[in-house]
């Protein structure tokens, strides 16, 4: 049985762990707020962009840009894997990696080469241990402050790779932020650009009359050529933003759990400590009483 001192040391240790998890949870909460603000700031841009692109794609018609054309034979796929740099966020990275792995397994049956563009250290480490081909890695971005130019640089590289035939398809694996309690690992195709969904049914009625008579400068086709690469950047940027936000949310939840687990441990250890102390006092009393009885005798 553990001695009094052992239990006391253990309680002290758990209390300190609790302080750390609590602090980490608070840091994650405040970072989550920042990340959510970034997402809110991005929303007007993304919304407007999708609206313009949707109407333009309809106008310019099929085959307006090589970025839209699917390859007949897919030999090489690049996966943009967004994970966090740091751990201690529950199953967050494991879920993302599992999604990527599932995707890789599905596609490798069709004899395609797969390479990775990594954002985040956890995903890169996984690629390394599993001997995956890594085309580029970008650390210190997810979960930190980053600007649109990060997505721009990465996007340019991917587009160049797609156009010169290095890649036939490009996907992004990221964590979609639904709420602080729910983040879903998602696989999304970014190149060739899948058919662009036009705005939702109800919206179409109000928007269309205007768009039908839009003057375009330069021509719709050239405009589309200019906008489509931006569409790729927007997709990557939104993937990174969502993953960052999800990371903080996941860490916050994980730290909350850890803190309450610490509380549970502290209370059960305190109980054990009190019991042990009471047992010691009782034993001591028995000794004294026994001694007194013996003297009387």
């Amino acid at each position: 049985m553990a001695t009094l001192k052992d239990v006391l040391t253990k309680i002290g240790a758990v209390k300190k762990t609790k302080q750390i998890t609590k602090a980490m949870g608070m840091v994650a909460t405040s970072k989550l707020r920042g990340a959510q603000q970034n997402m809110d700031g991005f929303r007007p841009y993304a919304g407007k962009f999708a609206e313009v692109l949707g109407s333009l794609a309809e106008k310019a018609g099929e085959g307006a840009s090589p970025l839209l054309v699917p390859r007949e034979e897919v030999k090489k796929i690049n996966i943009v894997l967004c994970t966090s740099d740091r751990g201690l966020c529950g199953g967050f990275n494991a879920n993302l990696i599992a999604a990527a792995k599932k995707f890789v397994n599905e596609r490798s049956e069709q004899e395609v080469d797969i390479s990775f563009t990594n954002f985040g250290k956890k995903g890169r480490d996984w690629c390394r241990t599993n001997k995956m081909e890594i085309d580029s890695e970008n650390l210190g971005i997810v979960g930190a402050k980053f600007g649109f130019n990060v997505a721009l640089t990465a996007g340019q590289k991917l587009i160049d790779g797609f156009l010169d035939g290095t890649y036939d398809e490009i996907y992004v694996v990221f964590s979609e932020f639904i709420s602080t309690a729910r983040q879903i690992p998602t696989v999304k195709q970014i190149l060739p650009i899948p058919p662009i969904e036009t705005a939702e049914e109800e919206e179409v009625d109000t928007v269309k009359p205007f768009l039908a008579e839009h003057i375009c400068e330069p021509s719709p086709k050239e405009l589309l050529g200019d906008l489509l690469p931006r569409h790729v950047y927007v997709q990557i940027y939104s993937g990174l933003l969502e993953t960052s936000t999800s990371e903080h949310a996941a860490r916050m939840a994980a730290m909350d759990n850890a803190t309450s687990a610490c509380d549970d441990m502290i209370s059960s250890l305190s109980l054990a400590y009190n019991k042990a102390r009471q047992a010691a006092i009782t034993a001591e009393l028995m000794d004294i009483v026994g001694g007194a009885e013996a003297l009387k005798g």
Partner: protein, 138 residues
């Protein structure tokens, strides 16, 4: 001319301008264009440069735009730019250092079609426009 047109300048990071303007002059790829209320629906790409507008209080204002595109509707102009900042928010020091860096890089690179060359040239262009805009007082 009756009434003001709503001007919105948004970047992926935030919304930079959202207010009423009497006239908006934007740096289109095929030349600058001015927009008043009631303009016909119009879509144009923008180059690196400065967007000018006169606000509701008759003050002329400038916004730096690093390329993007603009959608014009009869009552509203929406500018989507990769980055944009109002003149007073331009970081002169940063623009200066990036100007020097771009110049140095351009001097080093000889091949003109090179990817890095293009990047350095656009960086130079951005820095020059930022400096020009922040230097001009009105």
């Amino acid at each position: 001319m009756a009434g003001n047109i709503k001007l919105e300048v948004v970047t992926p990071e935030k919304s930079v301008v959202s207010e009423d303007a009497k006239i908006v002059v934007a740096p289109g790829n095929l030349g600058d264009f001015g927009v008043l209320i009631g303009h016909t629906p119009f879509l144009s790409t923008l180059k690196v440069g400065s967007l000018r507008y006169i606000d509701a209080n008759n003050t002329e204002r400038y916004v730096f735009i690093s390329g993007g595109f603009a959608e014009t509707l009869p009552d509203k102009v929406t500018v989507l730019a990769e980055s944009a900042e109002r003149r007073r928010d331009i970081d002169v020091q940063r623009a200066k250092t990036s100007l020097e860096r771009a110049q140095k890089r351009l001097a080093d690179i000889s091949k003109k079609e090179d990817f890095d060359f293009m990047r350095a040239r656009t960086a130079l262009e951005r820095a020059l426009h930022r400096l020009k805009l922040s230097g001009s007082r009105a």
